[in-house]
Amino acid sequence: MSIEVLILTIITIVGISTPILLAGLGELVVEKAGVLNLGVEGMMLIGAIAGFATTVITGSPWLGMIGAAAAGALAALLFGFLVLALNSNQVATGLALTIFGTGLSSLIGLSFQGRIVAPFGSIFPPALSRDPFLKVLFGYSPIVYFALIMVVLVTWFLKSTRGGLILRAVGENDLSAHSIGYSVVGVRYAAIAFGGAMAGIGGAYFSLVITPMWAERMTAGRGWIALALVVFASWRAPRLLVGAYFFGLLMWLELYAKGGGLNGLPIIPAIPSQFWAAMPYLMTVVVLALISVRDRAGSNAPACLGKPFLTSN
């Protein structure tokens, strides 16, 4: 494999990993607060169309990303209201959010079909971003760097801040957190909104960076991979980064096996593309089992995950 091909491959993998990294990071925070939101795919699609529509109207992809984050957060708050204020079932509500987002994005997208927007410019000078070798570091969309910064921020927030400690307490033992005087519902609303905003940005990465255009169901199930990723990373932000790029490699192998890959690569033995496509999910099931087999107390899964918060009154 020549170095040029390797660089192109790395750039492709980082590109396809970024949406699941963004959405996964948001969902990680939500799950750490004890809430399971299965609506990631729906929020990504809402973000994808909201970001695209905002960019078409304002002409700025930056405003588009802000619009995507706001729309994703709004959709998430609808979920939050149902599960937190009305104590509805989290699994069913999350699935409903995905079905809702798929339909809503298709409907809004009608007016935006066939339009194309200007992509993000590079934030680095062309000497770096266009350089055949240095572009492996500097040649990405600004959103790729944003995702990396967010990994650092979320890691730091969860591990080293008071807010992060409270959030984890709420996810680990909501009744205790409540009795010490923390607002369980308030913390969960905030986490859910953050998760929605990140999923929205992850979705808009498809419509503003990967293709710059809108297509129905364009996130193509990546929201479900993001959910798998959170479990695969056993609810740790740094592992989520590694996991996202690893899943990206698998997704790239799938594309390559389908025949849409690059020339000049060593021939990967004739493994069907479906094998690679199934790998993230299979490995996640294996990781789930391994986590459970290991010391249960040492497991990183939030204890209150998916359970409703009911005070005794």
Binding site: I99, G103, Y281, T284, V285, L288
Partner: protein, 364 residues
Amino acid sequence: MRLKLEKRPEPSRLMVVATPIASVLLTMLIGVVVFDAIGINGQKAVVDIFLTPLLASYKWQDVATKAAPLIIIALGLSIGNRANVWNIGAEGQYVIGSLCAAGVGIAAGGGGGGLIITAMILSGVVGGAAWAAIPAVLRTRFSVNEILSSLMLTYVALQVLGYLVGGPWKDPNGRNFPATAPLTAEQSLPILFPGTTVHLGIAIALVLPFVFWLVTARSVFGFQIRVVGSAPHAARHGGFDSKQTIWLAMLIGGGMAGLAGALEFTGALKAINLGFPSGYGFTAIIVSFLGRLHPIGCLIAGIVLAVTYVGGQVAQTTVHIPNATAGIFQAMMLFFILASDILVRYRVRIVRNPKNAPAPAAGE
């Protein structure tokens, strides 16, 4: 004045029945208002989505065909949901069920007839149950959350389908299109009314809810499912094994989904292609909630959801909205039914601000 929630001693029977109906009506109302607001003829859209499939008799067979898998899958899922076992991988079990039926059909060569068809259907049930057994093993042996594992396995099942129909099972006469060869008449389910698409599977979907009703209402098993779901501690004292309940709930859910897949394949579609998994396994979760986890409720809710699918296609041609728009209505119905759940378990009371008037005001 503020609203106060008071827990009801018993879930309200009136609300159990009234809230699903109110959810559907409210969804229709909001549909009219919102569609009008965005410049689409809302009344026409809602009428086409919710009523045209019921009023136009030539649409009935489409509604019945779509309702059958939804009802069958929802029946199985309701058992699990009642017992607090969350199998959300029905879509994958449905796919595996259809593939097992196809495998038996292929193994039988050109052979057909009642015996072969029965074997195909039964293998679908077994296949679906086997796929659901994986999360069941993981849950009972390793305490793995069945929500996540059953969901993940759905996407594995989709890839198994993609591999088989694009590779070993690809129709050699199919112009390289990834799909199985269409079933011969000898391997297809009989059509009940000549000239229609109403196949035997639809009759099965109409009978099964009553079977489930009888079994869950009259048997110890039905009681066990209810007790384990609502009071796990009491169930343990009563001698009901929670692991056994998880197994039963998963196997029935998976078996029903597998049955639905096998019936859809042998009765309706006759071939499996990449479009075969169309989300019935997920929509059936809405059906089971809208039907309040009751077998007869699932029957009615399955028909309602099928109407929105068929109506979505009608609206696509009449008011030019994308097919996926039906999903907005399906999701709204689920949102409302989930939101209104609180009315079943709680009584809403209006309470005056205690500083001004200490005596609480009565009222619903």
